[in-house]
Symmetry: C2
Subunit: 207 residues, 2 copies
């Protein structure tokens, strides 16, 4: 497959390297064509490098490996992409608020506003009750992602979760529910809309 | 620990049952106190049942086990919760849009708007480049969550991901990036803000 990698960052260059090693024809494109050529030389496996428009003209699959602030300008410089596959993985991130687009609040924060004085912990969004009853998946315990603004309340939650066999993962302050509620929805979607069923769960892997 | 379960749904009743079995003092509260008492009788382990206000008065840890549409009214009926731990896990869900609060668009959708004709696939948001290089975590391959509106483009992405050792998980149409981008942010938060580092990944468990 002819794959164009736009940008020379870690993700794009690593994907390009791995796919080149697997026999795909990889073309790195950058606003700095010399940098892209240098990268292609390091990668080997007949990888090529050049301008963004060269990469786009060459490839049937494109990887948008640029930061959010450069995305619009880069896309404009990529020209027509009719029918091409465009893979993107931009995490436009504000470290105080999460994703920069469209994720402005959460049910957990609304609940905290409706429950003044309560030490709210958001947890279990992506854990089905059948997972509560059997948290073990072939030796892997399902993860219990949780967040909240009160450390002692979170410790209580983590202990209660661990007691029933879940793997507690502290996900930070309560506004991180803006991430955990979408994770809960992703679980619902995969289990029901995508038909994978309730014998499913998320695991936080660490080594 | 004195635990109050508000609502008699699957999640709340299962948590109450499990924690009662672990020796905690569980009080089920419901708008229908008789239903809560019946549930407590089934659970055993000295679990009690009654009204919502009884459960709240009794417990130091409260579980809000009601649907989103009942949340505000239920919280009003719970009275003062000063200092109590309130565990909530409401996935307020619109099956066409995801979480009902605050998640209104995604970078992937914006990119698709800026790249007319391109078959955009959102993927790799929660996969670090070090995970690309070593996707195996003690026998578990990291998951590659992806979404897009073009099935053939998604098939290409899934094959490319599987070739480099990732476990592809089709997460539906492109607007599901509203879930995958928060998942990406959750990864960044856990790895960097929470200090767990980049040798971490998410896994979709299934049995």
């Amino acid at each position: 497959m002819k794959i164009g990698i736009i940008g020379t960052g870690h993700m794009g260059s690593t994907l390009g390297k791995l796919w080149a090693e697997k026999g795909h024809q990889v073309f790195f494109g950058s606003r700095e064509p010399l940098k892209a050529q240098e990268l292609a030389g390091q990668v080997g496996h007949a990888a090529q490098g050049g301008s963004i428009s060269q990469a786009c003209g060459y490839a049937e699959v494109l990887v948008l490996g640029v930061p959010w602030k450069a995305a619009q300008e880069t896309l404009q410089s990529m020209g027509k992409m009719d029918g091409k596959v465009l893979i993107e993985f931009i995490n436009g991130i504000d470290m105080q608020k999460g994703p920069v687009l469209g994720h402005t609040t959460s049910i957990a924060e609304q609940i905290a506003a409706w429950a003044p004085g309560a030490r709210v912990v958001n947890a279990f969004n992506s854990v089905h009750y059948e997972t509560l009853l059997e948290p073990n998946f072939d030796g892997q315990s399902a993860s219990l992602f949780y967040c909240g603004d009160d450390p002692a309340a979170k410790t209580i939650l983590a202990q209660l979760g661990a007691e029933i066999g879940l793997d507690p993962v502290d996900c930070g302050p309560l506004w991180m529910a803006r991430q955990l509620e979408p994770l809960g929805f992703l679980w619902v979607y995969l289990a029901y809309a995508a038909g994978q069923g309730p014998q499913t769960a998320f695991k936080w892997l660490k080594r």
